[in-house]
């Protein structure tokens, strides 16, 4: 039976948290591009919808220490409009702006993309590679959690009942760093990633890789941060041997499923190909800024 559904648009985060706390079947609404589709197809039957977009501090990009804090209700296209953010984290900003269409990106948020917990979420590998964290707020207070620890499986997160992701935080940038994200889709737009790969690299003055984080999406129940892949690059100048070792580590970390969007073989192979490509782009970006 259809339950009665309530709609709330609180002005403050405290109000939102209070509404979520009193009603375990209430759900927060950010961009709504996943949530409303799920509502319409009866995959979600909440008792209340708590629209977060009227909460001022959840909208927009702020400076946070050396880095950035992106409000949970900030649509993806707004990220591009922040020139400093786009210059510092082009991979993250591009990843968020591959989701759906312009229409969708004017609504969709990275926090929503993260909390929807799809293994194929485009912005998540880029955020994980970037070492992003998120500020989780609930009745028990707030905590800062690495982005990679939020999704625990398809459609499942580590958020406790009543908790919301209030913002996503990206560290500051120094010279010699660069990030990138690419995905494989059958068309040029409007698809869910068959495979996605994000890279975030740092280089010393002599061009030696000093830090590397490689994350891949849609190849396991959650986004995978492939430590071995990063390790394969650190200390090298990204010679072919190091790149192949990195790609092999990525392929080994893949544990995908066969589904309508891709086969195990194809996904695994593409993870390696895309990882090499994002590393090349991230290196070029690091070079430009060095």
């Amino acid at each position: 039976m259809m339950a009665t559904l309530a709609f709330h648009a609180p002005k403050t985060l405290d109000e939102a948290i209070a509404l979520l706390a009193v009603d375990p079947r209430a759900i927060p609404l950010a961009g709504g591009t996943d949530l409303i589709v799920q509502l319409r197809s009866d995959r979600l039957e909440p008792s209340a919808i708590i629209d977060l977009k009227r909460i001022e501090k959840l909208s927009g990009v702020r400076r946070h220490g050396d880095g950035f804090a992106i409000g949970a209700a900030t649509p993806c296209t707004a990220l591009k409009e922040d020139a400093e953010l786009a210059a510092a984290w082009p991979g993250v900003v591009e990843a968020a702006n591959l989701i759906g269409s312009v229409q969708v990106r004017n609504r969709a948020t990275m926090a929503g993309n993260l909390c929807n917990a799809s293994p194929a979420a485009d912005s998540v590998p880029a955020l994980v590679a970037a070492g992003a964290t998120c500020l989780v707020v609930g009745t028990g207070g707030e905590r800062e959690v690495p982005v990679k620890d939020i999704p625990t499986g398809p459609g499942k997160t580590s958020l406790k009942p009543g908790e919301v992701v209030a913002e996503i935080r990206l560290p500051g940038r120094v010279g010699g760093e660069g990030d990138a994200y690419l995905r494989s889709i059958p068309r040029t737009e409007m698809d869910i990633a068959v495979v996605g790969a994000g890279a975030n690299l740092a280089f010393g003055p002599d061009g030696t890789c000093t830090a590397a984080r490689i994350a891949v999406g849609a190849v396991a129940p959650t986004v995978v941060l492939v430590n071995e892949a990063g390790e394969a690059l650190v200390g090298t100048r990204l010679d072919d041997t190091a790149l192949e070792k990195m790609a092999e580590a990525v392929r080994s970390a893949c544990n995908p499923i066969d589904d309508k969007r891709g086969t195990v073989e194809y996904r695994t192979a593409m993870a390696g190909v895309l990882a090499k490509r994002v590393v090349a782009i991230a290196r070029d970006r690091a070079g430009e800024k060095a």
């Binding site: 559904l5 648009a9 609404l29 709504g32 591009t33 589709v37 629209d51 969708v104 609504r107 737009e189």
Partner: protein, 162 residues
């Protein structure tokens, strides 16, 4: 289910309507307000036929809850022509035969106008990617892209004092 009362501005005019909390903006426009120019082709944000402008940003109205429109500005295809005067995007669609069945056309026109409002001289590639969220099954997109290019040229001329 108790109804929500929503006060919003549609094509510049104040509008109030009642809706269920899970009613989409598209359904409210079409069913409550009789604005059937915005079309539903998919109901999941994949076809763009329901594209409207919400506070200056183009969105799929099927992916917006009607309640979210409270206090906001909504612009639909019905508001694109000013008075009896067609917008250059509309007139160029007609001049170039950029529509066949015409069902996707309102969404394309709203989206194309939104593009030209922010970028008066987009490249073909930029037009194609901007419009990638609007499906057309009749035209193969060729004449649509050309109509947007021609509308852009016309608008640039209008904006440049002679």
């Amino acid at each position: 289910m108790s109804k929500l009362q929503v006060s919003t501005t549609i094509n510049g005019d104040p509008q109030e309507f009642l809706c269920d909390p899970d009613t989409t903006l598209l359904d409210a426009l079409r069913e409550e307000l009789g604005l059937t120019g915005s079309k539903e082709g998919c109901g999941s944000g994949d076809c763009g036929a329901c594209t409207v402008i919400l506070d200056g940003k183009m969105v799929c109205s099927c992916l917006v809850l009607a309640g979210e429109a409270e206090g906001r500005q909504v612009n639909t295809i019905e508001g694109v022509a000013e008075g009896g005067e067609l917008h250059p995007v509309q007139s160029n669609f007609l001049e170039l035969g950029a529509l066949q069945c015409g069902f996707c056309t309102p969404g394309f026109i709203v989206a194309a106008k939104a593009l030209l409002d922010r970028d008066p001289n987009p490249s073909e590639t930029e037009i194609r990617y901007w419009l990638a969220g609007n499906l057309c099954r009749c035209t193969g997109y060729d004449k649509i892209v050309r109509a947007v290019q021609d509308a852009a040229a016309e608008l640039r001329q209008e904006r440049t004092p002679a």
